[in-house]
Amino acid sequence: MKNFLVTLSVFFTMVVVLQIGIGAVFFSLPAEVAKLDSYIHDKKDIVYFGDSTIGHIAKTDIETKTMPQILQKDFPRLHIGTIDHPAYWSSVYTAFILYMKQRHYFPAFVIIPINLRSFSPDWEENPGFQFEEEKLYAKTRGTLLYPFLPFLTAYGGISLYPISDDVFKNYPVIANKKKIGTIGDFDNPSYHTYSAEKMKKKIQVYYLYDLTKNDKNLQNLSAIADAFSHTPTRVIFYITPIDYQTGERYFKKDFLPHVRSTVGVIKQTLSKKHAIVVDMSFALPEGMFDWKQDMYVNEHLNERGRNYVVEKLAQQIRIISP
């Protein structure tokens, strides 16, 4: 048995060593992590994180530039890198930012959109919105765990899908401190048919949740503010505009006060970290949104809306570094 164990130990040591080499040389990173690597290498001045709102172009737009591209036009001397993907939110941004910090990469500015819908359980608990692979690769790159990630995820050591569909569908939806149902009750409306009742349900779950200080999204945003607190990087948070006029049409006078209260919690939390927050939540009329082809309300903007947001960001950048 002793010889057997020695032989096996030598063999497995060879496997581990070879695998570490393979991981270092051959692994392909998730696209956004690879992009961030290139920005670190190129030392981009601004890193603009975002979800689908920053890249969405309306079919009626004449100017088809995304928000980062519009911002680049305003600051031709600064190099802007974008890390965006539909449904990205603070949990992904946090992993990327810690990745940047580990590599001592401190751009002049980091821009973080705060999508109010991302605090909804429909987003935070959505199995498809967790992006565990990107977060995992960003967190473990350079560690001994990294070469073994495919094996660990395939063999259940680490889960890429921490939230199951069942758990998601049964997650409670709380509004005005009362449970008004589960996500399954609100998520069921198919996108292929429209009804006023379905729209009302969507607005309710997207924007009329109760936001507490323990919310993980808020905690992530605080962690991002903390990450750059004693560094040269200035983080600009901005609350993305929502189509409040549509919200008011369905919920009348109940809509604005509730959402204002939510925005207040976000701003209060981040102000404790001395973070810059540009609040654009109620800045835009419904004519600047482009969600009608999606049937149900979202935060996508047309070119007028995008130009407005970028203008506000540019103003903030100029205030910070004239």
Partner: protein, 485 residues
């Protein structure tokens, strides 16, 4: 605890080391405790269901051995009723309830049966049949009743084969439980090699194929023609790699511990007839139905009508064993039809092509593969209507493809042949790795059959397989197909 998990690997290493450090008289206790732990990871309370059946069958065996003629039969009946009753309660009660409700609705009767929320205990179908095999063999006088309750419990619970077989016969496994198993480095290395082969088949090949199969079969009505055909053929390979991969891990793990379990597969897709296929596929189950149902009913030593009846009953039960769904029943019956047709035309087919043996052999293999793959449609489809849709549409759209081919519209041909837009994730390096991996498997399997270690090349093959497992395992944790049975 799934085989394809870190927790199983850690569990197995600990159990194997402890097993060989313990004196022989305590080894069975360790294996029994380990097997109980292994089973309880799924749903702990269900161990009591297993214990109940173990007690019933243990005492049935003891009393059958002690009793005379009529009473022996009663104990056998009690055991069969207990095992089948538990199986029915967990696996089939909802199926029958919903069908009775539907029938009542069809007849305009105001009658419905409640559907219970039950989770099927893992491996129930497998260990039930293994237990029945023991009691039947004791009744037939082929097996001495096991007097040691702990050893009998281990026969049922032995963790490498507890969840998805092979369904062992008492004459094969019980003696091994009593026997001493000193550590053998040859057996341990052969066992580990076999486990590596199994993990490669499962997480590199089967799970990768599952990505294509699941995309199509979970949304069948979105596809027509080539995608359905590709997915069906892919499923034929997925289920083979998945189940034979599981079997390799089970047999390999048992071999490390010094146990020899029965082979469950013998290159089934090289079969030249459906009859031969069933002698090569899931051998432990097909031989169980042959020995305890088919032969029990008279086999083929009866009139042609009764022979047909025996085949249909055996395959109906086989289909039902796999799952409480009409799709499995149709799959089973379809295979029964194949066997009957084969029996009916066997002589005639042989006479027609006597002069062309090789061509006939290849033709038979391809025909058998086609027939079996066609039946897999029913096995894989989620519902009966899905299976009907696939059957109706799997050969649709080919005239358009042929038209495009002859009109040199290659761009259109590509769109019509590959409309899936699926991401199998198959880069050149992955295709290369899987291909070389399969060569390694074949080499190691050949050496395995010779029961000796394969020298430097064997180690290189093992190394390659492990590196493939580390790098090319599908990152979605997919359960073994046969775990659901």
């Amino acid at each position: 605890m799934a085989f394809n998990s870190i927790s199983f690997l850690i569990f197995f290493v600990i159990v194997a080391i402890a097993y060989f450090l313990l004196p022989h008289k305590f080894q069975w206790m360790l294996l029994l405790l380990a097997s109980c732990f292994f089973y309880m990871v799924f749903i702990p309370a269900y161990i009591f269901v297993l214990f109940l059946l173990i007690f019933v069958d243990y005492f049935a065996g003891v009393f059958i051995a002690k009793s005379k003629k009529k009473r022996r039969k009663w104990f056998l009946i009690i055991s069969i009723l207990a095992n089948c009753g538990v199986l029915f309660s967990f696996k089939y009660v909802n199926f029958f309830a919903s069908n009775i409700t539907q029938l009542a609705s069809f007849l305009h009767w105001n009658y419905s049966l409640p559907v219970l929320k039950i989770i099927l205990p893992i491996g129930l179908s497998f260990h039930t049949f293994q237990s029945l095999s023991y009691v039947i063999e004791v009744y037939r006088g082929n097996q001495k009743a096991e007097r040691h309750l702990g050893r009998y419990a281990l026969y049922v619970l032995f963790f490498p084969q507890l969840v998805a077989g092979p369904i062992e016969r008492p004459g094969q496994l019980l003696p091994q439980i009593r026997k001493k198993h000193p550590f053998s480095s040859t057996q341990a290395l052969l066992g580990l090699q076999r486990m590596a082969i199994g993990f490669f088949k499962k997480t590199v090949i089967a799970d990768r194929t599952a990505l294509l199969v699941n995309q199509v079969y979970n949304n069948v009505t979105m596809y027509q023609g080539v995608p359905l055909l590709l997915a069906t053929i892919a499923f034929a390979w997925q289920i083979y790699m998945d189940f034979s991969g599981y079997t390799d891990i089970a047999l390999g793990a048992a071999q490390v511990l010094g146990f020899q379990l029965m082979e469950n597969f013998n290159f089934p897709y090289s079969a030249g007839s459906v009859k031969e296929f069933w002698a090569r596929w899931h051998i432990s189950l097909s031989s169980w139905f042959r020995d305890y149902v088919y032969i029990g009913l008279g086999g083929n030593r009866v009139s042609w009508i009764k022979h047909a009846r025996n085949i249909f009953i055996s395959f109906l039960l086989s289909g039902l064993w796999h799952g409480a769904n009409w799709t499995f029943i149709i799959w089973g019956l379809l295979n029964g039809v194949y066997l009957l047709l084969y029996a009916a035309v066997k002589k005639y087919v042989h006479l027609q092509v006597r002069g062309y043996k090789k061509i006939q052999q290849i033709g038979n293999i391809l025909l058998t593969f086609f027939l079996i793959t066609f039946s897999w449609i029913f096995f894989r489809a989620n519902t009966l209507s899905d299976s009907v849709y696939v059957v109706q549409n799997v050969f649709a759209g080919y005239t358009k493809i042929l038209h495009n081919l002859f009109s040199f519209h290659l761009a259109q041909m590509k769109t019509s042949v590959l409309p899936l837009g699926i991401g199998l994730g198959l880069s050149v390096k992955e295709i290369l790795a899987v291909s070389v991996g399969i060569v390694c498997i074949e080499y190691l399997s050949l050496q395995y059959k010779k029961k000796h270690l394969s020298g430097v090349w064997g180690w290189i093959c093992m190394l390659f397989l492990l590196l493939c497992i580390l790098n090319f395992s599908v990152t979605q944790h997919i359960q073994f197909i046969y775990f659901q049975f």
